[in-house]
């Protein structure tokens, strides 16, 4: 019995003497667990909602400073607190404050957001607000955190499209153009947000999930129920003539980083209000940095649209209990018939 106790003490002592070494090893570079077939295991729920409050492009006044100062961050936190109060208010105030771009506006300031002094649109609590972060923009390259200039070709395309839009009779009506479904966005039509859009944090249903099998990684988005099956077994891309909304993805492991290259896009999938071209190529990198953090970056190369590549990068945080719901968008899309039939009814009135 005595010798057994001595053995236990020895084991504990040995462990304690090694523990600091283990901690150092972990902080230096965290080694993710492996799947039974030997790939780094990055499976799990990685919802994007924490970053919802971080804008795509950086405020111009910050220049090349990618992170807020403590003082700026404190302001952002205070704003979020005030927003939370507004969101949880039982009854909407007759002249509510509405969060827009890091400040609050009232119905008087922006009547477009209101009808008869009452805010239109979903209630405040409908949207995810995210967690205030020090990161000043999702775009981290170029260093000013802003989209690069459009190419002359893309500028002309944008100008031609805008002119064509203005020339239509419906452009001057209050509701805008709803002649057919093609006047609605791909998102409103429940077709896609595109690959870039699918990973940018959105105000609701912003769940992401990774499932791996031998030779494959699947990146699953809750919104529009996308499930991107990414071969990581070295096979070549699908033929370039097979164009798609979400692209054709191929991945490979560089150490513990999953690198995914996606091509074969259809032309016209928007990022913001800029339609991308058929030359779009997207490179994503997934790097686990600790048990609950997956570093994520996405580089957009579209030489027909932007004068240089640009990269968004942000951490995805693991969730144990995020509920991924079925996002049956198209099946319940009343917007489309309402928008189109509403526009026809307006025409009859005039």
């Amino acid at each position: 019995m005595k010798s057994f106790l001595r053995f236990i003490i020895l084991v504990v002592a040995l462990f304690l003497s090694l523990a600091p070494l283990l901690v150092i090893a972990q902080t230096k570079s965290w080694v993710p667990p492996k799947t039974p077939w030997g790939d780094p295991d990055i499976q799990g729920l990685w919802p994007g909602q924490d970053m919802v409050g971080t804008p795509l492009e950086r405020d111009g006044s910050l220049g090349t400073r990618a992170f807020l100062t403590d003082e700026e961050f404190a302001k952002k936190v205070a704003f979020a607190e005030e927003q939370k109060e507004i969101d949880t208010a039982e009854t909407p105030s007759p002249n509510p404050r509405i969060a827009r771009g890091g400040r609050f506006v009232s119905c008087e300031e922006d009547p477009n957001l209101c009808r008869n002094g009452v805010r239109i649109g979903p209630p405040n609590y409908w949207d995810e607000r995210g967690k205030p972060t020090k990161q000043a923009s999702l775009i981290m390259d170029p260093p000013d955190g802003r989209l690069p200039a459009l190419t002359p070709e893309a500028q002309k395309l944008q100008a031609d499209r805008a002119a064509a839009r203005r020339a239509r009779a419906c452009a001057s009506t209050p509701g805008g153009c709803h002649d057919s479904w093609e006047d609605e966005s791909l998102w409103d039509r429940c077709i896609t947000r595109g690959l870039v859009g699918s990973v940018l944090p959105s105000g609701y249903n912003t769940g992401n999930q990774i499932v791996q099998s031998p030779g494959y990684v699947v990146f699953r988005n809750e919104m529009i129920h996308e499930a991107r099956v990414i071969p990581v077994n070295g096979r070549p891309h699908a033929p370039a003539t097979i164009r798609t909304w979400m692209g054709d993805s191929r991945g490979h492991w560089e150490g513990n980083t999953l690198v995914v290259e996606t091509t074969n896009f259809l032309a016209g999938i928007p990022v913001g209000n800029v339609p991308t071209s058929d030359a779009l190529r997207v490179i994503e990198r997934f790097t686990p940095t600790d048990a609950n953090t997956l570093g994520y970056s996405l580089t957009v190369e579209d030489p027909k649209t932007w004068t240089k590549p640009w990269t968004v990068s942000f951490p995805l945080k693991r969730s144990k209990d995020y509920g991924v719901y079925e996002y049956a968008c198209h099946e319940g899309n009343y917007y489309m018939s309402n928008a189109l039939s509403g526009a026809r009814a307006e025409e009859k009135k005039n």
């Binding site: 129920h225 099956v229 096979r235 909304w245 198209h330």
Partner: protein, 260 residues
């Protein structure tokens, strides 16, 4: 008397040998049968679960392109045990299939129809999870392999709880919204539909699929479908994108389009 004893032993041995012959042992992933792969049904169940002769399609303009290939029943016993009113609804569905079949509208296919749509699907099985990704309409569903969870709300693809029974993946599907059809022949169920699926590897490239279907609103008893799924063995086999919403918009919203 001793001979009877010997005969009995021989009899038992022969019987048990016969009973065991069909067993195929699938390669293992973390101790369970490995169901990974791109699979597809090779039958006409999506046209009609029951025996049916070749027949014209609903649109003569499509000629033989739109015609229905003949096919044999995948329903055990060859009959779906509808209640009388429910059978009438099936016939009404069939009459309105050009506009009312959820497939025409590019709606999610539901379970079990997702399995035998004329599009491939991929089983993505990890050491824990099983994810089904269907090419048609990018429908997908995660099978919960942990402690069973109750359906939070009714959905098109349902709530799937899975478990391993030896060589078989058993998936219990509840929380189906009853809006999906079983086929283009108008076969249907209500939101009380409960489907128990069984996936069993029967060879390197074959997966046996069985589904027990019950719905006390619509059927007089539970019934079963049974079919073989085939592995896509082509080197370049992969799911391609079939986002069909743009193909259904004229059908769904054409009446609201601005007429010149």
């Amino acid at each position: 008397m001793r001979y009877v004893g010997y005969l009995f032993v021989i009899f038992i041995t022969v019987i048990s040998a016969f009973a065991q012959t069909p067993a195929y042992r699938a390669p293992r992933l973390n101790g369970h049968p490995d169901l990974n792969g791109v699979w597809q049904a090779m039958n006409t169940a999506n046209w009609d679960l029951l025996d049916h002769p070749a027949q014209p399609g609903p649109l003569w303009q499509l000629g033989a392109i739109g015609a229905v290939p003949a096919g044999q029943s995948v329903v055990e016993g060859g009959e779906i045990p509808y209640k009388p009113d429910a059978l009438k609804k099936k016939q009404e569905n069939f009459a309105k299939r050009m506009t009312e079949d959820p497939e025409a509208k590019c709606y999610m296919p539901g379970v079990p129809r997702a399995t035998y749509m004329p599009y491939p699907f991929q089983i993505v099985q990890s050491q824990r999870d099983v994810l089904f990704v269907y090419e048609y309409a990018t429908a997908n569903r995660l099978v919960n392999m942990g402690p069973p969870q109750k359906a939070g709300s009714d959905t098109w693809m349902g709530t799937s709880n899975g478990r391993w029974e030896g060589e078989t993946l058993v998936v219990d599907v509840t929380g189906l919204n009853g809006l999906a059809w079983f086929d283009r022949a108008g076969d249907w169920a209500s939101d009380r539909l409960h489907v128990v699926e069984r996936y069993t590897r029967t060879g390197p490239d074959h997966l046996q699929y069985e589904a027990t279907i019950e719905d006390p609103n619509v059927f007089t008893r539970p019934w079963k479908i049974n079919m073989t799924l085939y592995r896509h063995v082509e080197k370049n086999a992969q799911l391609l994108e079939f986002k069909c919403v743009p193909f259904a918009e004229e059908l769904l919203y054409g009446q609201f389009k601005k007429k010149d």
